[in-house]
């Protein structure tokens, strides 16, 4: 049981490190590059993302043959939530992983983005726990 927990922490540490390295090294942490993607001035980041989707598509098809991977439901909050996320992404240049890699790169203004994300998640969870029936089962979370 103890060694299970150690393995989980080490595994998560490894994947986190890989994610931070990749996001920073490809330019996803650079606001100017993200803005250039959204205004059609550069397609590099889009190529990184779409390339990863294609590789994942092939990878899942091979690795997960015959296995069932949970699919996210089409919840009521999906459309409004994605719109809000899109607005936030455009003005901060950050999605929930990128903000941390930005901080690691000593872009300290991202502290405010981080504070905003923590507040936003907390407010949502309070409202959901308070009976506002919007809960969707967020990614990675066990039901």
């Amino acid at each position: 049981m103890k060694s299970d927990s150690l393995k989980q922490h080490l595994g998560f540490a490894l994947f986190g490190l890989l994610m931070g390295l990749t996001l920073a090294a490809t330019g996803f942490t650079d606001f100017a590059k993200v803005h250039a993607m959204f205004t059609f001035h550069s397609f590099t980041l889009l190529a990184v993302f779409v390339g990863a989707l294609v590789l994942n598509g092939v990878g899942f098809a091979v690795l997960a043959r015959g296995k069932k991977i949970p699919q996210k439901p089409f919840s009521k909050g999906l459309v409004p939530g994605s719109v809000l996320f899109g607005v936030g992404w455009a003005i901060t240049g950050a999605c929930p992983a990128v903000v941390l890699a930005q901080l690691g790169q000593a872009q300290f203004a991202a502290v405010f983005t981080l504070g905003g994300i923590l507040t936003g998640v907390w407010v949502y969870r309070r409202l959901a726990a308070g009976g506002l029936n919007l809960d969707t089962g967020v990614c990675g979370e066990e039901a």
Binding site: A13, F85, I91
Partner: protein, 216 residues
């Protein structure tokens, strides 16, 4: 902040990450889910404590499930169902049903915290290995030009971060969960979520770059 890797190696690394995470932990990668676990860490700890006795003793879980069944259907109904099964032979039990009841493996919230902290370490390492670490208190010249400098800029980031946090929870995922894990398997809800997020971000970015942030 220069780009150190060509785009395809970034794709490869993100793909190794998504597939490796799924293979290692039997659940799809999703960063907004990690945020939820950390923000609600008290909840997480309480659930962990409540589950502990059932984890160490599977019989306890089986007894609790039977007690809940009796409470729901009434003792008589349960006795009758059991008697009926005994007398007729009943539906044969599957091998899985004869196994002791077991709870699914649970990942502690501290592992999710480790994950997020190491994303920052990854960013630090990239800077240290490439252009060096140059502390800055804005997100670069372009962001300052679009959103102003100083306190106003920081408040914009705070509000924007709030939208990212609230929005990804409401939508049930972000660029990793809906994007890397969902879109690659052509899950309809994930394709919609990422399409809408990208579309909105594009519209806002174009609006801001043509008219300035005052348009917001």
């Amino acid at each position: 902040m220069m780009t150190v890797w060509p785009w395809w190696s970034g794709s490869l690394a993100l793909s190794v990450l998504t597939l490796g995470y799924w293979a290692a932990f039997k659940r799809p990668l999703g960063v907004s889910g990690s945020w939820a676990r950390i923000v609600m860490w008290r909840n997480d700890r309480a659930v962990g404590r409540a589950e502990a006795p059932f984890r160490s003793n599977p019989q306890l879980l089986k007894d609790a499930l039977m007690a809940a069944t009796v409470a729901h259907f009434g003792e008589q109904a349960v006795q009758e169902a059991l008697a009926a099964r005994r007398s007729t032979g009943g539906a044969p039990q599957t091998a899985a049903a004869r196994e002791p009841a077991k709870l699914a493996a649970r990942i502690p919230w501290t592992a999710h915290l480790t994950f997020l902290v190491m994303i920052a370490v990854g960013g630090l390492l990239t800077s240290a290995l490439s252009s060096g670490i140059h502390p800055q208190f804005d997100l670069g010249a372009l962001h300052k030009q679009l959103f102003g400098a100083g306190f106003g800029n920081w408040m914009t980031l705070f509000v924007g971060g709030g939208l990212v946090g609230f929005g990804t929870q409401l939508a049930g995922g972000c660029t990793s969960g809906h994007g890397l894990s969902g879109c690659s398997r052509l899950v309809p809800s994930s394709l919609a979520a990422i399409g809408i997020a990208f579309g909105t971000a594009t519209a806002v970015s174009l609006l801001v770059s043509f008219t300035g942030a005052s348009a917001l």
